[in-house]
Amino acid sequence: MNLSNLFRIAWRALNKNKMRAFLTMLGIIIGVASVIAMLAIGEGSKRSIEKQISEMGANMIMIMPYDNKAVGGVRMSASNVQTLKIKDCEDIRNKAQYVKDVSPYVSSSGQFIYQNNNYPASISGVAPSYLEIRQLKIKSGHMFTDSDVKRYNKVCVIGKTIADNLFTKGENPVGKIIRFNSIPFQVIGVLESKGYNSMGMDQDEIVLAPYTAVQKRILAIDYLHGIFCSAESEDLAPKAVESITQILANNHNIGNPDDYDFEIRSQEELSEMLTSTSDMMTILLACVAGISLLVGGIGIMNIMYVSVTERIKEIGLRMSVGAREKDILMQFLIESILISITGGLIGVIFGFFSSYGVKFFAGWPVFIEPWSVALSFVVCSAIGIFFGWYPARKAAGLDPIEALRYE
């Protein structure tokens, strides 16, 4: 018996019970579709987080002061810890390996005022290289320069949210003077909008000024609130962190890592933290979807058992006209594989539709991984073979004489 005949026989048998075959398939269709849709949702959210992180600068490294001495004493907030100095910043720029850009960071919150509009926000004192580190772009005007930094110039670059709230009449902010509390700053540039990040923070609520101006004219301090660096590439970030740690430990004369008075965070950690949540969600969703696929498989097994019992006489007849055990086994196995593969194909199509349905109606990011399609297809073929095997075995093991006599 050749395979094409077996396929023809199985196809005829399924054709005779279209409704039942379809209902059996439905279990597989729903299973496969939900596996694909769930993985697409999971992968989509993971990718969107990763994209946002890389927009923030995937190779960014943050150095924050850390107060570890105040055991039992007054513990101060990070902005009041005075351990990071401009020398640290310069040493990192000059000595650290794998570091591309370095920018000091100081900030102060207060009220921005322009004419009769005002808006509460913080002003960030940075170096021009901060733009590169945070992947920010100037939309109009220009960024302040190193000479602005040297001269403590009161100039600033503002984000879209600030611009919208202060310049409500649609004026061009560039060239205008705004006040931070009582100190005037000239707006020399507006940043391109970046929207909200994955943690729900408005990335456009930002004002950048030379760090020297913020240090001396607003805060009157000589220490830094932090240092922002960028590694030469994302992969080199851990090595850069290592190198920075050494320089700072050396500068601060600290040997024991437990006593470090600074804290270094790379985007890698942040991204791991954020994607681990979405990974867990993906696994959870895929498990639920996988269970529905399993239930679909059990549905196939159930129907195949019914089908074998119903067709005992037919099996007896087939044996009497010369079907071997192998032929009967293959017939029922092919039937269940046909059900599961056809169901799998329809399920893949439904999976695509429902994924894009979720994207369209709920606005969630989705991404269909080719391997998830391949995986669910392989799994459902395996289900067809696995759950079809026992009923097919039962059919093939029938005694032709008894099968013929079965009523």
């Binding site: 018996m1 050749n2 005949n5 023809r8 026989i9 005829r12 005779k16 006489k313 037919e314 007896g316 007849l317 087939r318 044996m319 009497s320 006209v321 010369g322 079907a323 071997r324 055990e325 192998k326 032929d327 032709p400 004489i401 013929l404």
Partner: protein, 278 residues
């Protein structure tokens, strides 16, 4: 045919035997059974269904095997049809020794050398006549798709159903279904056709028309073994083997074979007979 009449005609038989011997010499033996025994274990007891059966059937014979229920005729039919193997004894079918074969080999023998006709037709439900007839050829990889269709149509023409190739089994009368079953038995050009109470479910008129078909097939040289409990059918066949309690109690050649065609003629005409007969 009853036992008494058999014994009365024993003498007649003996005179026929000489002629038969001659015939045996000339013709090839299709079936040769030697001391076939078949035991079944039912719980702790052993039931002897066949207690040593020996006979041979030559090419082109039309033989009826008769016996009441429990006489062992079904067991014998299963053995003849290679569905079952004897406990002891030898069975030669068309020159090959059946009991030494494994399951797959017997399946192949059933596929190539035997055509079954059952009492309840055993057609695939909701399937066209042509698909039903094609069935044995589906299990024969040597037959191509086009050849299969051609042979199925030929077989259906032989049983006068050439105009109903695509009728489904549930759209046909009992007689038509049995004709499809006979076509299915013929399609692989078997060495022997085994009929199991093939007219058991049919009314008298249809029975005669089916018997007429068997007689026609016999005339064309087909070997037919017809298992039945109906005495009347025996008179339409050439040879009659009677079983009782697992043994052959008579094996006679029919001197006057009745014609099923004539019997059909003699039946009172029915109003709407054309449909039913076909």
């Amino acid at each position: 045919m009853t036992v008494h009449s058999c014994q009365n005609r024993l003498q007649d038989v003996e005179t026929v035997v000489d002629q038969d011997k001659k015939r045996t010499m000339e013709k090839r033996k299709i079936i040769e059974l030697t001391n076939i025994k078949r035991n079944f274990e039912v719980g702790t007891e052993i039931v002897h269904a066949l207690k040593g059966i020996s006979f041979s059937i030559e090419e082109g014979q039309f033989v009826t095997i008769m016996g009441k229920s429990g006489s062992g005729k079904s067991t014998l039919l299963n053995i003849l049809g290679c569905l079952d193997t004897p406990t002891s004894g030898t069975y030669l079918l068309d020159g090959s020794l059946v009991q030494s074969m494994n399951k797959d080999q017997r399946a192949r023998v059933r596929n190539r050398k035997i055509g079954f006709v059952f009492q309840n037709y055993n057609l695939l439900p909701n399937t066209t006549a042509i698909e039903n007839v094609e069935l044995p050829l589906m299990y024969n990889p040597e037959v191509s798709t086009s050849e299969r269709q051609k042979k199925a149509i030929e077989a259906l023409k032989v049983v006068e159903l050439g105009d109903r190739l695509y009728h489904k089994s549930n759209q046909m009368s009992g007689g038509q279904m049995q004709r499809v079953a006979i076509a299915r038995a013929l399609v692989n050009n078997p060495a022997v056709i085994l009929a199991d109470e093939a007219t058991g479910n049919l009314d008298t008129r249809t029975s005669y028309s089916i018997l007429k078909l068997f007689q026609e097939l016999h005339r064309e040289g087909k070997t037919i073994v017809f298992v039945t409990h109906n005495n009347e059918i025996a008179s339409f066949s050439e040879r009659n083997i009677v079983l009782r309690d697992g043994k052959i109690i008579s094996d006679t050649y029919n001197q006057t074979i009745l014609s099923a065609a004539e019997a059909l003629e003699r039946l009172p005409k029915e109003e709407n007979e054309e449909e039913e007969v076909i």
